[in-house]
């Protein structure tokens, strides 16, 4: 974990309001190169809003986003990408009906030919895709095979490898494992760890404690639009994370409600029997 002087990306006390709703209030987050920051929180905690600001889809109403220590205002995801910030979304990562190599090179297809007769260089595209995928441990037999025939984990991995190939320094991964089974999730987690080893910064969004705990260097927990805590790896264990994630107080309340409901049902049944 390089704790270099200048963080790769920072959110400095950002807030975001949607009308009267406070989506995020005074949230700070720091990612260094070669570090995995896990962003955890229940649905509605503000994870998506924070990612949208980091990836250039939304702008903060208060506070700033900084890259390499310098404040930035992204006009679009493309502008963020130009600075090396790449976001891989869970569902719109790849095109299932297109081949692996065409998916890999989409939007930056290598060309051959001259003048107006420029053609897609299939051989070169295949070569690049094969090399890059091999780097992350995916060995492809048929590059013309459609991505739809790959497993969910392989698709996510392909999207991550592609973002890295396109020059990403920071990967923002939005719930990359939440739709996956155990083995598939393991494939993706392994790639995330490897990306860290190559010096990339990673913001890993999840609500699954078991996926965050083994790979995270730092854990930022969001709750109701605020940072409920930032913890280093050394101060974190599963029990603690579970407690923080579960939102202890709400869980107790739920249990109280359930026992009250149970009592009510028993009463009803007794009445019906009478």
């Amino acid at each position: 974990m390089a704790s270099s002087a200048v963080p790769l990306m920072e959110a400095r006390s950002v807030s975001k309001y949607f009308g009267t709703v406070v989506a995020l209030k005074d949230v700070s987050l720091t990612v260094n190169a070669g570090e995995i920051v896990c962003l955890l929180g229940d649905n509605g905690a503000g994870k998506s809003t924070l990612i949208k600001m980091l990836s250039g889809l939304e702008r903060p109403d208060e506070g700033t986003i900084a890259v390499d220590g310098k404040p930035v205002v992204f006009s679009s995801p493309r502008a963020a990408f130009a600075q090396g910030i790449a976001t891989v979304y869970q569902d719109l990562a790849v095109l299932p009906q297109m081949s692996i190599s065409r998916n890999f090179m989409l939007g930056m297809e290598p060309l051959k030919g001259f003048g107006p007769f420029k053609f897609f260089d299939e051989a070169k595209a295949g070569e690049i895709a094969r090399t890059e995928l091999a780097k992350i441990g995916i060995h492809v037999n048929h590059l013309k095979q459609k991505v739809g025939t790959m497993s969910g984990g392989e698709r996510q991995s392909l999207a991550i490898a592609r973002a890295e190939y396109r020059g990403a320094r920071l990967l923002i991964l939005d719930e990359p494992t939440s739709a996956l089974g155990v083995n598939e999730a393991a494939i993706v987690l392994r790639h995330v760890i490897r990306a860290r080893a190559r010096g990339l910064g990673v913001v890993f969004i999840t609500h699954n404690v078991h996926h965050a705990l083994p790979i995270g260097d730092r854990f930022v927990i969001l709750s109701r639009g605020r940072v409920a805590g930032t913890y280093a790896r050394s101060e974190m264990d599963e029990a603690r994370l579970n407690k923080l994630m579960g939102g202890g107080a709400e869980f107790e309340e739920l249990q109280r409600d359930l026992s009250a409901l149970d009592a009510e049902l028993k009463r009803d049944r007794a009445q019906a029997a009478r």
């Binding site: 493309r78 095109l95 989409l106 939007g107 297809e109 897609f120 492809v140 048929h142």
Partner: protein, 341 residues
């Protein structure tokens, strides 16, 4: 066994699956079967003669000219219901221009092409900028253009039919480029179709733009996230579809010497049918130009096959509908098998 297994692999897929992933193979088998059947039934009455063969090639060419571009648009995830009306309207521009306004042929053709490109651009803008479904926009276009064709024709020439085009343009050599015929059998329109098929197939499979067409229809949001200019791709394709409508209009008006307000009617459906028979999905992202060409040939073979077999033409539409249903079911079944994990 302690073989070093890579953590993650792509499985091999069977040859059979790779064939059903290419629906044009199925379409070609279907075409061959129909052709053999009609050759057995109607072979004696001229189905196999040179002129018989030319007759269904020419029919295939007429529908094929528009269905080629419609296929590109379908793959990009959009549809143009107004293509038949474009053919009618453009034909009217050419006929009215040459007979009533006294334009030379080249000017009439250019005016018709300019209109088509402007119309395609307008439809494209409405669809991509305002996010409206192309089905509704082009349904509006279908009625708007058809009504305008009849209206203009009746207002200017007092009838919905404009004849005398050949007389008006005399022996303009440009005529041959659209209405010529070789030894009275295969028309120049057939060569246009073959040329279009080759160009469209190369663009679709061998160029960056082709990749973008597939991506735009597969998932517009994923394509955009990868830097594909989805809006531009779709607008260009709407313009290409309209331009192919002009081409068909020129072929029809110049070979028949007339324009009819109702010409092109039903071409929007025939184009869709040929595309679907050839394995193009109406939901975008998959399809093939060669498949559509096979679909167009199938239409031609069935239509002329029924004629040579002595079956009443009334049955043509019923058989077309049946073929469409069979093709859709086969394609659906094939796709489900391919993507089954």
């Amino acid at each position: 066994m302690t073989v070093a297994i890579p953590e993650s692999r792509i499985r091999r897929i069977s040859l059979a699956n790779r064939i059903v992933e290419r629906p044009e193979v199925g379409a070609a088998i279907g075409l061959l079967a129909l052709w053999v059947a009609f050759a057995l039934i109607g072979g004696d009455s001229g189905f196999l003669s040179g002129r018989g063969i030319a007759s269904y090639l020419n029919i295939a060419a007429q529908v094929g000219i528009v269905s080629t571009t419609v296929t590109l648009l379908l793959i990009a995830g959009e549809f143009d219901l107004s293509i038949g009306s474009i053919v009618g309207f453009c034909g009217m521009i050419i006929a009215l221009g040459t007979t009533q306004a006294g334009w030379p042929l080249w000017l009439a053709l250019l005016a018709s092409l300019a209109f088509a490109l402007a119309y395609g651009f307008g439809v494209g803008i409405l669809v991509v900028r305002f996010g409206l479904p192309s089905f509704i926009i082009t349904l509006g276009g279908l009625f708007l253009l058809r009504g305008a064709t009849i209206g203009f024709s009746r207002t200017i020439a007092q009838q919905p039919y404009i004849g005398g085009v050949k007389k008006a343009i005399g022996d303009d050599p440009l005529q041959f480029w659209f209405a010529g015929s070789f030894q009275d059998s295969v028309d120049v329109g057939f060569l246009w179709w073959i040329g279009l098929v080759i160009v469209a197939a190369v663009i679709l499979t061998k160029t960056r733009f082709g990749n973008w067409i597939y991506a735009a229809g597969g998932s517009a949001s994923a394509a955009r996230a990868s830097g594909v200019p989805v809006a531009r791709v779709k607008i260009i394709l709407f313009m290409a579809v309209a331009a192919s409508g002009t081409l068909l209009a020129a072929v029809q008006v110049l070979s028949l010497g007339s324009a009819d307000s109702f010409r092109g009617q039903g071409k929007e459906f025939e184009a869709a049918i040929t595309a679907v028979i050839g394995g193009t999905s109406l939901s975008g992202g998959t399809g093939s130009i060669i498949g559509t060409a096979i679909g167009a040939l199938t239409l031609g073979v069935v239509r002329q096959g029924l004629f040579f077999a002595g079956v009443d033409y009334d049955w043509y539409q019923a058989i077309l509908g049946l073929m469409l249903l069979v093709a859709v079911l086969i394609n659906h079944y094939a796709r489900r098998n391919v993507h089954k994990d």
